[in-house]
Symmetry: C2
Subunit: 491 residues, 2 copies
């Protein structure tokens, strides 16, 4: 393993790319824009999936699966949706290859052209609402609370592993309700679930808010979001939950008979998070030595490294290492004893540091004699000597402490990078020199939002929920404003 290390302060972007590669999380494939998620990266994604899936099911949602392909005509049914999604996409035009009789090469068979092209789903509102039409007749069929775990494709010219790839993995919830109120409650409930997951599992503090019209999902009435702040002061949208009104019900003619025997259009929500969260996780906590993982997501929470020289030491040390591992496993902790004999302890220390294993336990012959071990925390790099008899009750506690500390560190960082400004100069200074979220007055028009974006590269990340109302002047136009909104440069 040749590891080229780049410091965050030198080149944040190169640091990120190197880390993703060196920690064995993912890599670019030979298919343009598509990534390979490697086993270690995928194991973290699986832990995210399990936590989310449990929360979805606890709130009454069920999983289902809808087709990968969407007929082109479906996209034209919801006017604003088509502009947002039917542009950069993978188009299936043929269903057969054949051997060319002259060149003997494999070519697309021109006789196998589809009558109507199929789009590889960039999101599934259209195919799902086309299906819901036959599922929904009466108020008794509502609500429908469905989630799908799937791959989606949005053609991207410039890609970054996890953050922006042509194909990515995600979940997309699609619910149908009898009333607007119920759909709005659902939209907010899912936002809360995302925020809870982000803060308690990913250990990333997030700001909940709604998007401005410019940044709204194509086809939504209102888009709610959670926004996190990365260590380079740039924001990352970590999840969205959309109140879709009756837009898709009208586009696909989905009506239900009410208790009062009246036919009405159904109300909808959709909500999703993706493998992009892997990028958020990496950029929120990791350091120049590598990945830092919150214990609740770490595929390996504790690594035990035996240290020995002579053969008889090896037997003794390994015996103790395995016995401690057994004790910790009984506490529900995932433990690995790294007993590879062709790598030095120093190599192993560096590797597990790179991979973000929260706790490292080293044990040598002298430790065995003393009944102790050396315990090292990945987050603070503190080392301590611990009595082996204390492992069982102290390690679970330590893992909890690490989870809390990682969150607190990210929260402190965000608090230090949240600026309130009143002038354009202060605004640019905050973005250019301080970096982070900038709370500022805006006159509420899309035009001004566009102008601010053009001049500063910052976008409105959200209008925070329960935002304080106060009179002020737009930082760009000086026009009156009733509230501050949150700007940032973003991924």
């Amino acid at each position: 393993m040749e590891i080229k290390k780049v410091k965050r302060s030198e080149d944040y972007s190169a640091w990120y790319n190197n880390l993703v590669k060196n920690a064995d999380l993912a890599e670019h494939s030979d298919v343009k824009g598509c990534m390979v998620i490697k086993p270690y990266g995928y194991a973290i994604w699986e832990k995210m999936q399990a936590e989310l899936d449990r929360r979805f099911k606890e709130t009454g949602h069920q999983n289902a699966y809808f087709p990968l392909f969407i007929p082109k005509s479906f996209f034209t049914k919801e006017a604003s949706h088509v502009d947002g999604f039917a542009k950069e996409c993978a188009v299936v035009t043929h269903y057969r290859l054949k051997v060319d009789e002259v060149t003997k090469e494999i070519v697309v068979d021109p006789d196998a052209k589809l009558e109507e092209e199929l789009i590889v789903r960039p999101t599934s509102e259209t195919i799902i609402w086309n299906t819901y039409r036959s599922w929904i007749q009466s108020y008794r069929d509502l609500p429908i609370l469905i989630n799908q775990w799937a791959n989606v494709v949005r053609w991207e010219m410039r890609t970054r592993l996890f953050l922006r790839t042509t194909e990515f993995l995600w979940q997309e919830g699609h619910t149908a309700h009898a009333t607007a109120e119920e759909a709005i409650i659902e939209t907010k409930q899912m936002l809360d679930i995302y925020a809870d997951f982000a803060e308690n599992i990913l250990a990333i503090p997030v700001i909940k808010g709604i998007k401005s019209a410019n940044e709204r999902f194509a086809g939504a009435v209102e888009t709610y979001c959670i926004e996190g702040l990365m260590q380079d002061g740039k924001a990352l949208q970590m999840g969205t939950s959309h109140f879709l009104g009756q837009n898709f019900a009208k586009a696909f003619d989905v009506k239900y008979v009410t208790r009062e025997n009246v036919k009405e259009y159904v109300w909808a929500t959709s909500w999703g998070v993706s493998t992009r969260l892997m990028g958020a996780l990496i950029m929120s906590h990791s350091d120049d030595e590598g990945l830092v993982l919150p214990p609740r997501l770490a595929p390996i929470q504790v690594v035990i490294i035996p240290i020995f020289k002579k053969a008889e030491e090896k037997i003794l040390v390994l015996e103790h290492a395995n016995s401690y591992a057994g004790l910790l496993k009984k506490q529900g902790i995932s433990v690995k004893v790294d007993d590879r004999d062709y790598q030095s302890p120093g190599f192993k220390f560096a590797e597990h540091e790179l991979k973000g294993v929260p706790v490292r336990i080293a044990i040598g012959p002298r430790d065995v004699q003393n009944g102790t071990v050396e315990v090292a925390r990945r987050d603070t790099k503190e080392k301590m000597i611990m009595d082996a008899t204390d492992l069982e009750h102290k390690i679970p506690h330590l893992l909890e402490q690490i989870q809390i500390n990682i969150y607190q560190r990210a929260l402190d960082y965000r608090s230090e990078h949240l600026f309130t400004v009143d002038t354009w100069e202060e605004f640019l200074d905050a973005l250019d020199n301080k970096t982070g979220f900038v709370s500022a007055h805006w006159d509420g028009t899309s035009e001004t939002e566009e102008n601010i974006k053009e001049k500063s590269k910052a976008t409105i990340r959200c209008i925070p929920l329960n935002n304080h109302q106060e009179d002020g002047k737009c930082i760009l136009t000086g026009k009156p404003s009733t509230q501050r909104v949150l700007f940032a440069r973003a991924y």
Copy 2:
């Protein structure tokens, strides 16, 4: 719900289609050849996934994710693979749509034509072995034991829900080994895992064997399979495990340095099962009243139906129903109290029968008085009165009994439909009149196999593992044969 019931004896195929639809398992989508897996069907698939995934991980495999798209040229690298897979497939030729300036319709943008077409994966050997080339240098990088849960696409003209669809869900394992021996052991291990899963979870007895050359996976040296027998006497291939030799390593130039410092090609296996297993599950156990589910796969294992007329009865009965449900949940049983007040008990009985819930508990005011409940088994339709105090320890036991009984019934059916024949007339009689597996001598040539298939529509399902060797004469050609093989008409 209008339910059109068809008996198996009348029209097996219509019975199957009706059942899949009426039990809410899946339906055809408006995208040709693609299905929608509905929540109830998907919940069963999730249970299958969890059981398989656990077995894969216990044997050292890790999950990962590789791209959906495969460049066309990758398929041409392994000569026999291209014939098998690069024919009927979805071809992505463009990456953008646009609004036509004249018609204002959405059309494929001719300027966004891909230089090289992308194939939506029908199976991932090529993209994965292209990736393994950079992952494998030394014997220390081996074995690689990876599995992927994914969707795949094989263009089908005639589709059946679950059994044959253009898009389906599956898992595909792809492993790399230093020696042929190790790869063969892996191939057989995965076959054993599939067989264990089929018998102990799906409750379907299977025959393990190897495929004849004609039926071998395109690119494999040897294909191992498990074959089940459906209630109409047709066989269904339920899973395959392939020893790929060095074919893909050579095609994608994947070599490793041995302990002896020599460069050698890597040995490979691949293995998979798909949502086809849902079809096997349905066709093995279900009856004219609907689905019959083995308890280990049932999303709802026990349904409790409260029966009452007056309002005060309702309170009393529901209170008891919920309390019994709580007791059973503590035993790890998944229980649903069906307290819908707009459906009659009779309707509920029929619905849960249709959906294959293994145990139904009915409770009315008199039961409350007597401290009893009525317990009905879905598999045998037996009813019994049970003391409520016995529920806690008797129901888990009953669920186990049902699991065993369903398996035994399928095993008995298969035993009664496994025929040994020595002449062509007996062979046709067994296929046409008795239906099932037919064990017969075959001269070992692909030509004869083809002729038998043409004349009888039966194929060689497998050469059973550890097959008895005996001299005989081929049923078609009369040429000498050293062993019987297993024929059947198949899905």
